[in-house]
């Protein structure tokens, strides 16, 4: 079974530029998550999708971050414009259903450096 795929693995941009990350979850997984992991901290949930609907985006900085999951499969997270404090690893995860106890499967992450 293929795991969660993410691209790119690394990205370096200058502040005020825009960037997009792509995630393809495990086939059949209805729930998709985007996390931000700043160095020295645990993953912080940015947005959670159930199929193609948003379940929780309370911690997504909506003035600069956006995410979509068209057709309920793969997803894109965008930052525009980027700030220095956005430097982090962006993790995508998926699970079969969302009931709090289902195992989340994580991708390898995209390491973003904003200069």
């Amino acid at each position: 079974e293929a795991g969660v795929a993410q691209s790119p693995r690394y990205k370096i941009i200058e502040k005020r530029q825009s960037v997009a990350f792509w995630c393809n979850p495990i086939s059949g997984h209805a729930t998709l998550y985007w996390y931000q992991q700043i160095l020295g901290q645990g993953p912080k949930l940015l947005i959670q999708f159930q199929n193609n609907g948003v379940v929780d985006d309370s911690q997504l900085p909506k003035d600069r971050f956006s995410a979509e999951r068209l057709k309920g499969v793969d997803s894109t997270l965008k930052i525009q414009p980027a700030k220095l404090e956005d430097s982090a690893v962006y993790l995508c995860a998926s699970s079969l259903v969302d009931s709090g106890h289902n195992e989340q499967f994580f991708g390898p992450g995209t390491r973003l450096t904003v200069l």
Partner: protein, 114 residues
């Protein structure tokens, strides 16, 4: 609101020695508890989880964790560590019910010394 505290950011331990990684949680309601492991340059993987029932849960690679409601703890232990256990370990908490967010701790880096 729920939260998780991992007091130790780094734990060095010699190979074949025992180890305990501490995790304390805060929640006013029932909880689900998890330990995830992150090997270098990889995503997080579920190590073990407590949902209900027996308070002692085990993983396939020799780790175990015990849910202690009175002390609000879910410490991770292994009686004898191996070099391959070197990784970062994250404790996480969630709640029963649909669309419940998983809250992660700040992580503990386990460094196994040969």
């Amino acid at each position: 609101a729920q939260s998780v505290t991992q007091l130790d950011s780094q734990v060095p331990v010699f190979e074949e020695a025992p180890v305990e990684l501490r995790c304390n949680y805060s929640s006013s309601v029932s909880v689900y508890l998890f330990w995830y492991v992150q090997y270098p340059n990889q995503g997080l993987q579920l190590l073990l989880k407590y949902l209900s029932g027996s308070t002692l849960v085990e993983s396939i690679n020799g780790f175990e964790a015990e849910f202690n409601k009175s002390q609000t703890s879910f410490h991770l232990r292994k009686p004898s560590v191996h070099i391959s256990d070197t990784a970062e370990y994250f404790c996480a908490v969630s709640r029963p019910g649909g669309y419940q967010k998983v809250t992660f701790g700040t992580g503990t880096k386990l460094q196994v010394i040969p």
